[in-house]
Point group: C2
């Protein structure tokens, strides 16, 4: 209770200093080691200010137009040692905001502020949900189904979407659902024939590696009897049902071919091909939601032409059925490489994994228990809904992740020592990242190089799947692969699980290489490890926030990230549609050359 | 707190008396005016015991095998005057049970007991949900989609469903979802082409008259942004998505033609026609879920052959579009008659309602405010989830409904006096039922004769829809209708909103008239009012519980009743499939003749 009072006092002083625009008074409320993560509330950006000088610089530029007020704690402070944390709420000139704060010895260590709703444009839900069709006799009555049919018929032809979303996977679907609630006309173009096909079309044995509590989409949670790990086709069906339930406008079997932006009119001209017919669209905003990844990184080695067997990229791999009895080499040692190896082994193939560099591997059971604490049935029972868990996750600045994660991986390594010993003895090279921070950091930094073990590791440990680690594949031969050390690996089939290029390669193809280069890569924190060169960003590059290119956005990530960040991208788009001022603090500079 | 103690004391004494099978000690715990409503826990029936003698009789027959134990209050007692109420829980030999009790002056006035789960057959959900597909390499791996395809291909041919459900509206769908969670193989046969068509095929302007909070299906609630009143086609889409999400097996475009039961083998032989092909099915259990109603009650009057205009039953009415400028007579004055009148008026027809007897009419807004208190956003905010609200509703014995409802309708009549004055002045005959107990009692007793005003009453009050009340239609003439008082009503179009026959008429057609007669009518409480002859039943006749006919069941009702009672019907079917003893207390005797 004392600490709740302390927190309330802090917030009151903070509130007063902000309302007086007294930045130096604000500054004195923060600890030396301090972080302020802002999701739109002050910066109209997704940005973490690290240390007092960055906080001061941000406030000096944003405080006058943000006019934050009414800071208060919502609920009791949570105490841990010298730390006192609390959920908070406040308002700005444009909206209602929430956040979370942690004080250490009475000074702010971390603050997270997030825009929740725009004043006057709140999402209708609960008490404010629509009544639906009018209960009144009306000779001009248009039924729901007539209105829906007309909307679907007109969009893209008579009516232009305000937002065009390229890609109808979980990213496009979650964003589009958010936009619809906010009254922003949106259209998805998706190359596959059915909503959910981005999952259905993956390899036969794919089952989500993340648990159900982490995977909910906005507005409609998976039911309580949904399995913990969702099979890909079941997820596909869910996405399809979801798109129907939320009345999303999706053009399936549609490719996005070309897009150019007119600075004068602030409008895109986008050429798409819908079921073979060219259509030109004129949205104001263009969102690339083509997955966390760009195009497949195809294998490009001497001898590819001469290879007599089958060579495919993992993105095109469907099933091992045709490869029973064949000798198969799988290049790579991350998630898809592991899954493909298992699938081939299950089909009766003779499988060798060619591991180029060490991978982070964690047993699924261990990770569920230790790494998904706040996304679990226990968490739900304690009142930690998925929304609360998301805000908790978002309240930790990326700069503090590695320390947290190192502690987790220390525990994991001890608990599963026997498992790691067996993996190592089988010749599999594993590590926990350059700085021992483990799987999630790999995912954030490079989106590659990790595997949540759902069965492959046992086959590797017992020799059913052979491993060549440190494999430097230099060429293909007519009957296999040539490694740098002179070894040859015979293969009837080569599956390149070699990953994907950056999302902005898709922009290069559709908009222009110049724009793509100026935007620079997506994803990665600038941590300075291999595959994620600095400088340090403090946030994921170019994701869900303004980029160098006007009216061009990236949306992506797994189900959890798509769920959470779709809200903030939708708010940014809504504000722009409504002509609300959205001064962006810290917009990136154009990148002069690729990293 | 004192009252909580009193309740706990009562439960302890009750528990001891039951465990000693001391029925006379039990009896002394009940007030003179007492009711015990049991949903399967003691009776394997849905039955209300009224007064001490009925309670004693029930216990004398059921206590020995039920062996209830561990009675306790869950949560604090709720106090109102001399009354103390509480949620309770206990166990029996076969399952875990919940309930609700109200003491008056320390003695039990009402007790409701309900089976929740069968020991060893609990529904997997939350902590016990399935993990989904095994995370383990497996050369015999069958994917979810392969297993689903095979299940769908085999059922009805290689594999027989344990339960065959006739009708795929909300009733069949909700029941089938429950059965699937319990691992009971079920198949729905449905005459329409798509799941949800039972709603889509109704008249154009139909929007649910009940609010969203009352309409949830099991397991998956409508999202928070769902409109209060669902348009019919949107509900159709929801049901279709729901059936897919819950992996239900439905044969669409399938009629159920003939069914006979073999007492020796305990198996039905059911002839269906699936997309034109005859198929014979052999389920153990047959459920009629064809709606709360039986076949349409078609108009059968002298002169039908000579009528030169269009004559249709409301069930076949789609839209007034073709009737612009026509003179239309609508026979009936309940919900569909009102909706059809509005639809015709909206289309520009000249409309007269022929009211045969007084209707109960309530303004939607008033009913939402006063009659749906526990199914509302406010209720949700107070923690009254739909499951809690359902149990609350179920805890009131039907015998006590009329008094409760009379009080409500007294308030409604006062509040909307001006509305009723205008309706009356326009010649519309309204009442509040024979005993002034209003709309819900009409619904329970006769499933007819009421209208929640969503627009028609204003058109009646201002004369846009003409009304002839007390209209006794005796014949059709070539150009209209002949009334008993000699009046003639000209009509190009006659819509017979004359209601439906009892559900068991469907049994007469599919099984046999003899079986249908033995079962007697469905629905109705035996209240003794017109359309619901006695003797008093205390429960709805033949619904969701054992009937005279072995292995033949009725399931039906609006979305709310389908949601709640599907649980109890599913538990009865599951217990029988598992060979659990289900001694039915109070199974009805065969009806010798139709009522």
């Amino acid at each position: 209770m004392k600490d709740t009072t302390q927190l309330c006092d802090w917030l009151e002083v903070f509130d007063q200093a902000l309302s007086k625009q007294d930045v130096s008074a604000v500054q004195s409320l923060f600890a030396d080691d301090c972080y302020w993560r802002d999701l739109l509330a002050f910066t109209w950006n997704i940005k973490t200010m690290e240390g007092r000088p960055e906080i001061v610089a941000m406030l000096s530029e944003t405080l006058a137009h943000t006019t934050p007020r009414g800071w208060h704690a919502t609920g009791q402070a949570e105490i841990a040692g010298n730390n006192a944390s609390s959920w908070i709420a406040f308002e700005t000139a444009t909206g209602r905001c929430k956040g979370r704060i942690t004080l250490v010895d009475g000074k702010c260590h971390t603050l997270m502020t997030a825009l929740e709703d725009l004043h006057g444009h709140e999402e209708p839900r609960g008490q404010t949900r629509s009544k639906g069709l009018t209960h009144r006799a009306d000779r001009q009555r248009r039924t729901w189904s007539e209105l829906r049919s007309e909307e679907t018929r007109r969009i893209g032809y008579e009516d232009q979407p305000y937002v065009l979303i390229v890609g109808g996977g979980q990213g496009g679907i979650a964003l589009s659902a958010r936009l619809r609630q906010l009254g922003v006309p949106a259209l998805i173009v998706e190359k596959n024939a059915r909503a959910g096909d981005s999952w259905r079309n993956r390899y036969r044995s794919l089952v989500l590696h993340d648990p159900v509590w982490y995977d909910h989409l906005p507005y409609l949670e998976f039911p309580q009897n949904w399995p913990v790990f969702t099979p890909k086709d079941k997820l596909g069906d869910w996405l399809e049902a979801y798109a129907k339930i939320f009345e999303l406008e999706i053009w399936q079997s549609t490719s996005c071919d070309k897009a150019s932006f007119d600075d004068q009119t602030g409008t895109w001209t986008v050429e798409v091909t819908r079921e073979g017919e060219p259509v030109t669209l004129h949205p104001k905003q263009l969102v690339f939601a083509t997955g966390a990844y760009g195009p497949p990184r195809e294998i490009d080695l001497p001898g590819v032409q001469d290879f007599a067997g089958t060579l495919i990229h993992s993105s095109a791999y469907q099933s091992g059925e045709a490869f029973a009895g064949k000798t198969c080499a799988v290049i790579g040692a991350a998630s898809s490489a592991h899954d493909v190896c298992v699938d081939l082994w299950e089909a009766g193939a003779n499988v060798t994994m060619l591991q180029r560099s060490p991978s982070v591997v964690v047993r699924s059971e261990t990770l569920m228990e230790l790494g998904f604490e706040i996304y679990s049935e226990d968490a739900v029972a304690q009142g930690i809904t998925v929304d609360v868990a998301d805000m908790l996750s978002a309240s930790v600045p990326y700069a503090l992740f590695p320390d947290q994660q190192r502690a987790l991986y220390q525990e994991i390594r001890e608990r599963d020592a026997a498992f790691y010993d067996r993996l190592g003895a089988a010749g599999f090279a594993f590590d926990f990242g350059e700085d021992d921070s483990g799987l999630m950091m790999k995912a954030l930094r490079t989106a590659s190089g990790y595997y949540i073990d759902v069965g492959a590791s046992e086959l590797i440990a017992n020799g059913e799947i052979k491993v060549v680690s440190g494999a430097d594949v230099v060429a293909l031969t007519p009957d296999g692969l040539q490694l740098g050390d002179g070894q040859t690996v015979p293969a009837d089939v080569v599956i390149a699980c070699t990953g994907y290029q950056s999302m902005n390669e898709i922009v290069a193809g559709i908009v222009s290489p110049e724009v793509a280069t100026a935007i620079g890569p997506c994803w990665g924190l600038g941590s300075g490890v291999k595959g994620d060169p600095g400088p340090w960003q403090g946030e994921l590059r170019n994701m869900w926030k303004p980029t160098v290119a006007e009216n061009l956005w990236f949306h992506g990530g797994n189900l959890a990230l798509s769920r959470f960040y779709s809200r903030f991208l939708a708010l940014q788009l809504k504000a722009r549609m409504e002509g609300i001022e959205t001064p962006v603090y810290g917009r990136p500079d154009p990148v002069q050359s690729g990293l």
